[in-house]
Amino acid sequence: MDHFNDDEIGQLLRLKRHEQPPPAYFDNFLHEFHRRQRTELLRQPLWRIALQRAHDFMFQLNVPALSSYPAAAAAILICAAVLSVKVYQSPDAGSGGTLATTAMVQQLPRVPAETDDAPWSLSTPVSTRGLDTTPFRLAKESAQTHRAAATTPRYVLDSTPVSYEAALRF
């Protein structure tokens, strides 16, 4: 840069001021800009591009504000799950559990006692659970039980006596 003096630099600047790009240069400028930008981007690894885009997307959507919606939805789902479990439980959780356990035990074939101490062999009967598709407690029964327990009775007191005489006769 030392072989240019100030006069020469000034002359060059004056010359550049009058230079014009070719006639189609500005028509293709934006397209060329994007092409070069993509080329530059593709030099990065794919995961970094994805991360960068996700990052930009989140910031664009105001993530802190949006995060409350998934949290609320998750809370509602948890509540619904807890309520559904409670609704379909038996009224007496203890006895209901006992009954269910009893029913399950009754369905399991009991392995003969003598086999407990006997050495295991291929001929020993294997305890298997019968694949009965009948549920231990039908949903209908469960619903009836709970509705019956929760139903408020009709407290009776008529607004007029039922006693009635059509005419004055005897």
């Binding site: 408020t152 009775p153 007191l157 005897f170």
Partner: protein
């Protein structure tokens, strides 16, 4: 020293202004105002004590009744009338339902329907246990303003007393005749109290609560004499036998012998048709019931029992005539459904002394 407004001087002059006799009179007058106030407090306290005593004495025999009808579960009140577990309740509680239980001393005890009667508005249930019972009184001894109380189960609340007084003896309500006179009682009621006993201050049952009036500010009760007539029929015949003769009655233009009840129609094929009664006769008496107004025949009719002889006294021309007919079955009353006729060993004790 002159002390025109001195305290001592005022006191000293008092004997001059009010001599001893006047002061005694004044004191007596003042004291005479105290006894009425004191007596009023005593009277209120006495009523409260009596109500409490009756409630505590009667509460054990009053039970909550639960049942199931076509609309679902229902709850009402009932009360035991003997130690064998017989209990009265309202028709709307004990008639068109099943799976009856009563809550006695904290336990649910199954009950069964003994009989129901729509014409009177009552039902009788029974539990197979020895039970406390309420004594039966006389509703005929009630007067206007007689104090009464009831014990019932309003809504899902515990046993609750209500206090009021007899406000009327009504034969019709909202243009409809009752089958017999009902007691209108000024005591507040709530749903769930149908079938509750109406008690006098002796603790005796004088009525059965059957309905509310005007959104629960008052209520109607069937007189216990009417309920006992139904029970007496059931004990005698195993069914309720509402009787009738077959005569229509209307107001006469001119009262005769103190009665305004005039025969208008003698219905064919009824006991009255062959009795000799004629249209235009003035009715004076049916059985032991004197008749003054046409509405009096409601009670006269209610206490008739089919199959019983009924003396009827009328005024015709210038003479009184009495003829006797055998009452038939009341046509407007279907034969009541008898759920469980009592066997001879299960007969309900009965203490009736009213002769229909």
């Amino acid at each position: 020293m002159r002390q025109p407004f001195g305290f001592k001087n005022d006191v000293a002059s008092a004997p001059l202004l009010f001599p001893l006799s006047a002061r005694v009179f004044l004191a007596a007058a003042l004291l005479s105002g105290i006894p009425p106030l004191h007596a009023q407090e005593q009277s209120t306290s006495s009523i409260s004590r009596e109500v409490k005593e009756v409630f505590e004495r009667s509460a054990k025999a009053v039970v909550k009744i639960r049942a199931v009808d076509q609309h679902g579960k229902l709850a009402g009140t009932g009360f035991f009338i003997d130690s064998a577990g017989t209990l009265y309740t309202a028709y709307s509680v004990g008639a068109d339902a099943e799976d009856f239980t009563v809550e006695l001393e904290g336990k649910e005890i199954p009950a069964h329907q003994v009989m129901t009667d729509r014409r009177s508005g009552i039902a009788i249930l029974k539990v197979d246990l020895p039970t406390p019972a309420l004594p039966i009184g006389k509703s005929s001894s009630l007067e206007l303003t007689t104090p009464v109380l009831t014990v019932g189960f309003p809504l899902d609340l515990p046993k609750t007393p209500s206090f009021g007084m007899i406000a009327g003896f009504d034969r019709k309500f909202l243009g409809r005749y009752f089958s017999t006179t009902h007691l209108r009682v000024n005591l507040p009621t709530q749903r769930g109290e149908a079938g509750a006993p109406l008690l006098n201050f002796k603790g005796e049952v004088v009525g059965i609560l059957v309905s509310s009036v005007d959104n629960g500010s008052a209520c109607y009760a069937l007189p216990i004499d009417a309920a006992e007539k139904i029970r007496s029929d059931f004990v005698r015949f195993g069914e309720v036998r509402h009787g009738w003769v077959g005569i229509n009655v209307a107001p006469a233009a001119t009262p005769m012998e103190g009665s305004r009840a005039q025969f208008t129609d003698i219905m064919p094929n009824t006991p009255a048709a062959e009795s000799g009664a004629k249209p235009g006769d003035i009715l004076l008496q049916v059985g032991i019931t004197a008749v003054r107004e046409p509405e009096d025949v409601l009670d006269a009719s209610f206490f008739l029992t089919a199959g019983d002889p009924v003396p009827i006294t009328v005024f015709r021309g210038d003479e009184k005539l009495t003829f006797t007919v055998e009452a038939g079955f009341h046509p407007a009353t279907p034969r009541p459904r008898i759920a469980s006729p009592l066997s001879p060993g299960q007969a309900m004790p009965l203490g009736l002394d009213r002769t229909p």
